[in-house]
Symmetry: C2
Subunit: 500 residues, 2 copies
């Protein structure tokens, strides 16, 4: 039995190697590849993905998993070994249901739609994008049809990003947000915050300096991390010991500073997965929601907190004396927490962000069940933006065409952003209870205790348990929007009080 | 038949993708990977190599090659299609002879020996390296034993780097070099050249600037090339449209300038392979000798030529006014062409370099046929250094331990360096005949005509023809040391005349 287990582990390790190599191919493409290399790189990436898929869905892996079932049943279910067999079996069953031709068609549709979306967004021309979007939705529906369950189609869309999460569970959370957030948005609107000093200019070499200071303090080190510039910031992991985060700079904004903290949060999750899980399918964050809980935590709960800003702001002033010489830390705190409805999701504040997500979640369900014709999306988008945020969408570029996700067939992805917000506060409330001293640590620029807590209670597990089990381990409770809503209410009240 | 050919091409394209990905893994490791990622990267690299080897040596590829034989015979042998089948068949026959376990053992032996060599060289401790070297030689002998030919073992060692080249052919060339070079070395010794102004200091950011100017002028462009810093400079190609050259800097030398021209020569060869060969096993330089002919050409025949230095030197003076304010271009020319025996191969001049190679070529043959015990290598090395270059080897660090090649089992590699020198002059003489205007072009910083000639007469062929056939196409004649010896004689006479 042990020989069979070693054989399974070896085969899975090869597949994980190939997947990590896919990440490297993507990172390299995005961060530094000479542009003329693009067409050949697309072929190289497709080859690796195809081989990884073929090898993983092979009959040999299935046979090994089958034969190892009794062995698994004799193990402690929390052991690395039992978890490996259990999770690999679940992944294998799911992957086997998707024909390799459909996998290829999905990749091909995504690759074709991406440049079409770039072009359509540039020209704010939804009609030009419509056939590509139609194909993306069609292919996504055929993918979903591979799974012969009873639930709504959207359950299967969600499952790719937040395994096991059901549409009705998201509904329950989002309904509560929809009940609570409008009043908060109205309150924030009535108490405007001055953030004019955040318009820069902030010379980019100075921003680089500042980001490096923050990353070092957070726990980034060149020994096992990189930090590069890129068009679409993201975090990549090629091993728990090779984490690559990225950012982009603009002269007229400090957005890169907070975006860098965000990517650090993603990277730290991967960095702190138990080294014993390296080169297994368990080495990685368990779901997009839990991943986002970590990025949002470092960006918002650490990065935009007053105690941390007491440590950071003198350094910001030192780097940008002209811009911040006459600003104090409280003004800076309010400015970087400003709440104000806006058109673009990625620029949205902590409160309104969720309304952008809810809008997409609602439209996506209609797209999949066919209750909306795709050509009606721009109007539906405009109506919801008016309803949820009270603003007009002047052109599709700033509305339905703003995100790349749908072009790649990633329908079901958006909800995880808000679920991440919700989870981050559940975990944060527990951390605050267990680490009452956190504020004074942040004021001193000390983050090791927080990092250790996160490793011990969340990161180290990797994919050993389901996302839901993992959340309970970290937060002590299943999904619950309560802590997040409490946090937002307090934030809005604080900002309103300060403004009044 | 056409469907079978497409099937073969598709399978080979996947294997080429995997090999290019191996290069990316290596480039990334060497150039920028966080160091803690090394152990996992080693596994990832081994996985890709193993899968590429398995897929290439598969029975399916053999069956397709077999079935396509009549198809090949009906094609023009110079066509891309016939060449693809012919070369793939030869590669497949050779690769099939090596058991996959031995492949793994070779990779493992090399991986283990490399750090042992680094350590042994640092401590100048040959005895510590001896067991690793013994294993490298043993494994290499077992590899050679896979090929059941009549020739000397060294023929098979050579074949991996210079396909089809025989030991007796190398002997013939090297015998002639051994006859001619000692007198040249003596003459150079009698007429010392002043190169004291090449000792720097040359601030590294200024060197970067200068290298960028030279590369742009040669024809490097960011569209399809990168240029990075690395510990062991080399050229990598990930596609004909993705060429990555590298260098390293030292404050006390301009070596990086010439090393960069050298790597440009390697890169240009890969860059100018016919785009129609992309993603086939034909896309790449045909042998190490021909590759080195191109790097040496750009480093020495262009880079150290007086006409080119007339273009370059004012720019060198502009970047380093203090160091070169009172030097003229003729003095600079003599200094960068200085001939003087020295201990280290990679630092050697154009004449003595070959004696370093001949020494290794002779020892390697004895290592493979067992006529020398490996423990005697340091003494044998010292004796030959005394005989060929008239200098003492004070410690093994500066002698037998200086090169990494043997630690990786690369026995048979060194001769290609001198063969490259020889070929470069054969090709160069033909270029000078066909492009009589070259000197004035170099004085104007114009290299497009040379690049075009090289593309048309050498680079575009990739691996379509054997190295010997390719040399004849480029140079108009088979291997012949005559042009190289003429060139060295003229160079030495010129330097002696100037010194006198």
């Amino acid at each position: 039995m042990n020989a069979k287990f070693q054989e399974l582990k070896h085969r899975l390790a090869e597949i994980v190697d190939l997947r990590m190599i896919s990440s490297l191919l993507d990172w390299d493409l995005q961060a530094l590849m000479p542009p003329a290399g693009t067409p050949v790189r697309a072929e190289q990436a497709a080859t690796v993905q195809r081989i990884a898929h073929e090898r993983f869905t092979s009959a040999e892996i299935g046979r090994l998993l089958e034969e190892l079932q009794p062995y698994e049943e004799g193990l402690d279910p929390e052991s690395d070994e039992a978890s490996l067999i259990r999770v690999a079996h679940r992944d294998w069953e799911k992957a086997r249901k998707v024909p390799v031709e459909l996998e290829g068609e999905m990749a091909q549709a995504a690759a074709t739609a991406l440049p079409a979306w770039v072009e359509a967004r540039r020209n704010s021309d939804f009609a030009a994008f419509l056939p590509y979007l139609q194909r993306a939705v069609d292919v996504r529906c055929r993918y979903i049809a591979c799974f012969d369950g009873d639930g709504p189609a959207y359950d299967y869309a969600l499952d790719d990003y937040e395994e096991g999460m059901k549409t009705h569970e998201v509904d329950a959370v989002f309904d509560e947000l929809k009940r609570e957030l409008p009043a908060l948005i109205a309150e924030a609107r009535a108490n405007p915050v001055d953030d004019s000093f955040l318009a820069g200019p902030f010379p980019i070499d100075k921003q680089r300096e500042l980001n490096a200071v923050v990353l070092r303090q957070f726990g980034w080190s060149p020994d096992s991390w990189r930090f590069d510039e890129i068009v679409h910031p993201a975090a990549y992991h090629l091993a728990t010991t090779d984490i690559r985060i990225t950012t982009r700079y603009a002269e007229d904004s400090l957005e890169s500073l907070f975006s860098t903290m965000h990517e650090f949060g993603h990277g730290l999750y991967e960095r702190q997965v138990d080294a014993a899980l390296e080169r297994t399918p368990l080495a990685g964050g368990v779901s997009l929601g839990l991943h986002e809980s970590q990025s949002r935590m470092w960006e918002n709960l650490v990065g935009r907190s007053l105690p941390f800003l007491r440590w950071l702001f003198p350094r910001v002033q030192e780097v940008f004396p002209e811009q911040f010489g006459s600003v104090d830390v409280d003004e800076f705190y309010r400015a970087v927490n400003k709440i104000q409805p806006s058109l673009i999701r990625v620029d949205a504040d902590q409160v309104t962000y969720n309304m952008h997500v809810i809008l997409r979640f609602e439209l996506e369900q209609e797209m999949l069940d066919g209750s909306i014709a795709l050509r009606e999306l721009p109007d539906a988008w405009g109506a919801k933006m008016q309803e949820y945020l009270g603003i007009d969408v002047p052109e599709d570029r700033l509305g339905v065409l703003q995100d790349m996700h749908w072009s790649g067939g990633a329908i079901g992805y958006f909800p995880t952003y808000s679920l991440g917000n919700v989870m981050s506060l559940q975990i944060w409330e527990r951390i605050r209870e267990e680490l009452p001293d956190l504020d004074s640590q942040f004021e001193d620029g000390e983050f090791g205790v927080l990092r250790d807590w996160l490793r011990e209670n969340l990161h180290r597990y990797g994919r050993k348990f389901t996302p839901q089990e993992t959340l309970v381990r970290a937060a002590g409770a299943p999904l619950d929007p309560g802590p997040y809503i409490r946090y937002l209410k307090q934030k809005v009240a604080e900002l309103a009080g300060a403004a009044a």
